[in-house]
């Protein structure tokens, strides 16, 4: 059974801190790994990773995939209260099916 595991389950930091969120996966037919940010109901897309070792960056957020270790990390530097959200990791398997992890709840305190 395809599985995506995220850690930690929740995290509380202070503004300005740097955080690292983890995602590991066991799937039968890996195509890509995606990160989403979910603030209310609708997840919004952050990154899509297909190649190992290539970092994707968007402002203070960055992510990298390690296909050998079957994992990915999402880094957020200089955190702000607006970064408070659930961060979801998903792996695209055959066709266009996404298998999601349970998410990491991040709370940034001012």
């Amino acid at each position: 059974e395809d599985k995506v595991v995220q850690s930690p389950l929740s995290l509380v930091v202070h503004e300005g801190d740097t955080v690292t969120l983890n995602c590991s996966y066991e799937v039968t037919n890996f195509r890509s790994l995606l990160w989403y940010k979910q603030e209310k109901k609708a997840p919004t897309f952050l990154f899509m990773l297909t190649s190992s070792g290539i970092e994707k960056k968007s402002g203070r957020l960055s992510s990298i995939l390690d296909k050998k270790e079957l994992s990915s990390i999402l880094n957020i530097t200089a955190t702000q209260t607006g970064d408070s959200a659930i961060y979801l990791c998903a792996v695209e398997v055959y066709g266009n099916k996404l298998v999601f992890g349970a998410g990491t709840i991040l709370r940034v305190k001012s």
């Binding site: 899509m48 066709g95 266009n96 298998v99």
Partner: protein, 114 residues
């Protein structure tokens, strides 16, 4: 429309009743997906449509769940004889073709089964 819309936004029903959830995808998007998010859980894939056909129904949790899409646009997810464990947020997403990184999510329908 400007984004994916879903209705109703909230639905409270009694155990045993049937419910219909509606999704309006972004105009021109050929692929449409349904997910379920239970409290404290990640998103669970239910079904996706390419046009009007559903090549993958593997995620539907039981035969009480069904979905259809007509005219390549609006989709309805029907849950018959609802149970309390069906309580969740049901999210719909659409994309232009089969591209995982371009799935746009709707706001969801929060279903509560009493």
């Amino acid at each position: 429309g400007a984004g994916v819309s879903q209705s109703p936004s909230n639905k409270v029903t009694e155990k045993g009743k049937d419910v219909e959830l509606r999704c309006d995808p972004i105009s021109g998007h050929t692929a449409l997906y349904w997910y379920r998010q239970s409290l404290g859980q990640g998103l669970e894939f239910l079904i996706y449509f390419q046009g009007n056909s559903a090549p993958d129904k593997s995620g539907l949790p039981s035969d009480r769940f069904s979905a259809e899409r007509t005219g390549g646009s609006v989709s309805t997810l029907t849950i018959q004889r609802t149970q309390q464990e069906d309580s969740a947020v049901y999210l719909c997403a659409s994309s232009h073709g089969l591209a995982a990184d371009t799935q746009y999510f709707g706001p969801g329908t929060r279903l509560t089964v009493l």
